[in-house]
């Protein structure tokens, strides 16, 4: 049963199977590492579209680079750290997430409206998209594989407390869990709680504490380690 559930990337054509063993009985079946068929077809499609002038491969390069290098959870961490340190900004952020992000020069495709949902002592928020894998790209970059997995998409809305515990976040029973299934064009960002012991940290130091999973809602922001 292996890695079906990853359900995200680079599956072999006749990928992992509970009867995989039986392959060894199949004459003429090689296990030599080969280029995945998706790579072969993707290259052909790109070459043809470029030749036709439908796309420009240089532009494709730029976009890949943008998402690999320029945008990612660090962007969201800046937003969170600002909200922690600037109450007026936080108010604007909760009122209109996209406008507040624009103040920091943050914005881009796939996010026409951004709702920022705030964690408190009594309420924990967590984001999912059961239908595809909608995610606030301009703020968090592209989603991790687990966010796109069938397991996360199917389970979070039915048993969020169990899923969060499995992922390492055990919440007290009195904490209400609010799951946001972002199936329309509204995107969500969780504003995590600022951990204790960070009173004297700068905005940049705070931003360095904020990880992707806390902004999706499957983790808390860990308190900084106390130097011993």
């Amino acid at each position: 049963m292996t890695n079906h559930d990853t359900d995200n990337h680079d599956h072999d054509h006749d990928h992992a199977h509970h009867h995989r063993h039986a392959d060894s009985e199949r004459p003429g079946h090689s296990h030599a590492p080969t280029k995945p068929w998706q790579a072969t077809r993707a290259e052909a499609v790109e070459a043809l579209l470029h030749e036709l002038g439908v796309i420009d491969s240089a532009r494709v390069d730029e976009i890949v680079q943008h998402y690999e290098e320029k945008v990612g959870p660090k962007t969201g961490a800046r937003v969170v750290a600002r909200a922690w340190t600037d109450p007026a900004f936080k108010q604007r952020l909760l009122a209109d997430g996209l406008a507040a992000c624009a103040e920091l020069g943050i914005g881009g495709p796939e996010t026409e409206l951004l709702h920022v949902v705030e964690n408190t002592d009594n309420v924990h928020n967590v984001i999912v998209c059961t239908l595809c894998s909608c995610y606030p790209w301009p703020v968090l970059g592209l989603p991790p594989a687990w966010y796109k997995s069938s397991a996360y998409r199917s389970r979070l809305v039915r048993e969020p407390r169990t899923v969060l515990a499995e992922m390492g976040l055990s919440l007290a029973p009195q904490v209400e869990i609010r799951v946001w299934d972002s199936v329309s064009e509204i995107r969500y960002l969780v504003l995590p709680q600022r951990p204790a012991g960070t009173e004297n940290m700068s905005e940049d130091e705070l931003a360095a504490l904020v990880r992707r999973n806390a902004m999706i809602g499957v983790a808390k922001v860990a308190a900084p380690e106390v130097p011993s």
Partner: protein, 227 residues
């Protein structure tokens, strides 16, 4: 449509597979497909909901096997073929010629729907602020989700159909209606609401205590709750 993509509430997929030190793309082709799709999104060839629906039309077995960007590749090829931009036969011929080490590939035939005229271009985004609408529901209204089962695209997840909840937010912006836009039969701008459901209402005795599920739903998916 009722499809395997509408996964909310399904059992059987095991634990959430968490990877450490995950790259943005796991293979070069994933990045190419992602970025090519971003470019194509801006060409006016298709709209967002068409793209999503094309993925939903995959055979369920393929959907589960091909992975996230494999689905995007599938949708890209199907849309380009259907819209006469790049035919599947052209891709197959190129692959055949590559496999046979042909020194010069066949010339692409000139007949195709490219470039598009301004009139042919399909608009992308979902907000239609120039068409203001008046929402029918207000925050606090108790609504019931309609039991819709049409065969086309929808963003009405199966697990909330027939269920009652409370409007927690009115996104009074005028948003396109995905169920019609996906088939290019109209934007039908309308309000989108965030509706809060008690877990018990959705999952009965199997619900986890102290959990609420919030779902963004178009006005056409909702009716006033009469019970």
């Amino acid at each position: 449509m009722n499809g395997i993509h509408d996964m909310g509430g399904l059992h059987g997929f095991g634990e959430v597979p968490v990877e450490t030190d995950e790259p943005v793309f796991h293979a070069r082709w994933e990045g190419r497909i992602f970025a090519m799709t971003q470019v194509l999104d801006t060409t006016g060839i298709y709209n967002l909901d068409e793209h999503r629906h094309e993925i939903e039309l995959m055979h369920p077995a393929d959907y589960l096997r091909d992975g996230y960007y494999g689905r995007w590749l599938f949708a890209m090829e199907r849309i380009l073929d259907r819209k006469l931009i790049l035919r599947r036969t052209e891709v197959d011929r190129r692959l055949d010629e590559q496999a046979a080490n042909i020194p010069k590939f066949s010339t692409l035939t000139p007949q195709r729907q490219w470039p598009l005229t301004a009139q042919q271009k399909i608009r992308w985004g979902a907000q239609r602020p120039e068409e203001p609408i008046t929402p029918s529901f207000a925050v606090g209204d108790r609504v019931r989700v309609r039991n819709l089962h049409h065969s086309g695209h929808t963003r009405l997840t199966a697990y909330v159909r027939g269920r009652a909840g409370v409007v927690s937010k009115v996104n009074a912006e005028s948003w396109i209606y995905p169920d019609t836009r996906a088939h290019n039969v109209g934007d039908n701008p309308q309000a989108v609401y965030n509706v809060t459901f008690d877990a018990q209402e959705l999952w009965g005795d199997a619900a986890e205590p102290g959990t609420k599920i919030n779902v963004d739903l178009s006005e056409a998916y909702l009716e006033h709750d009469e019970t």
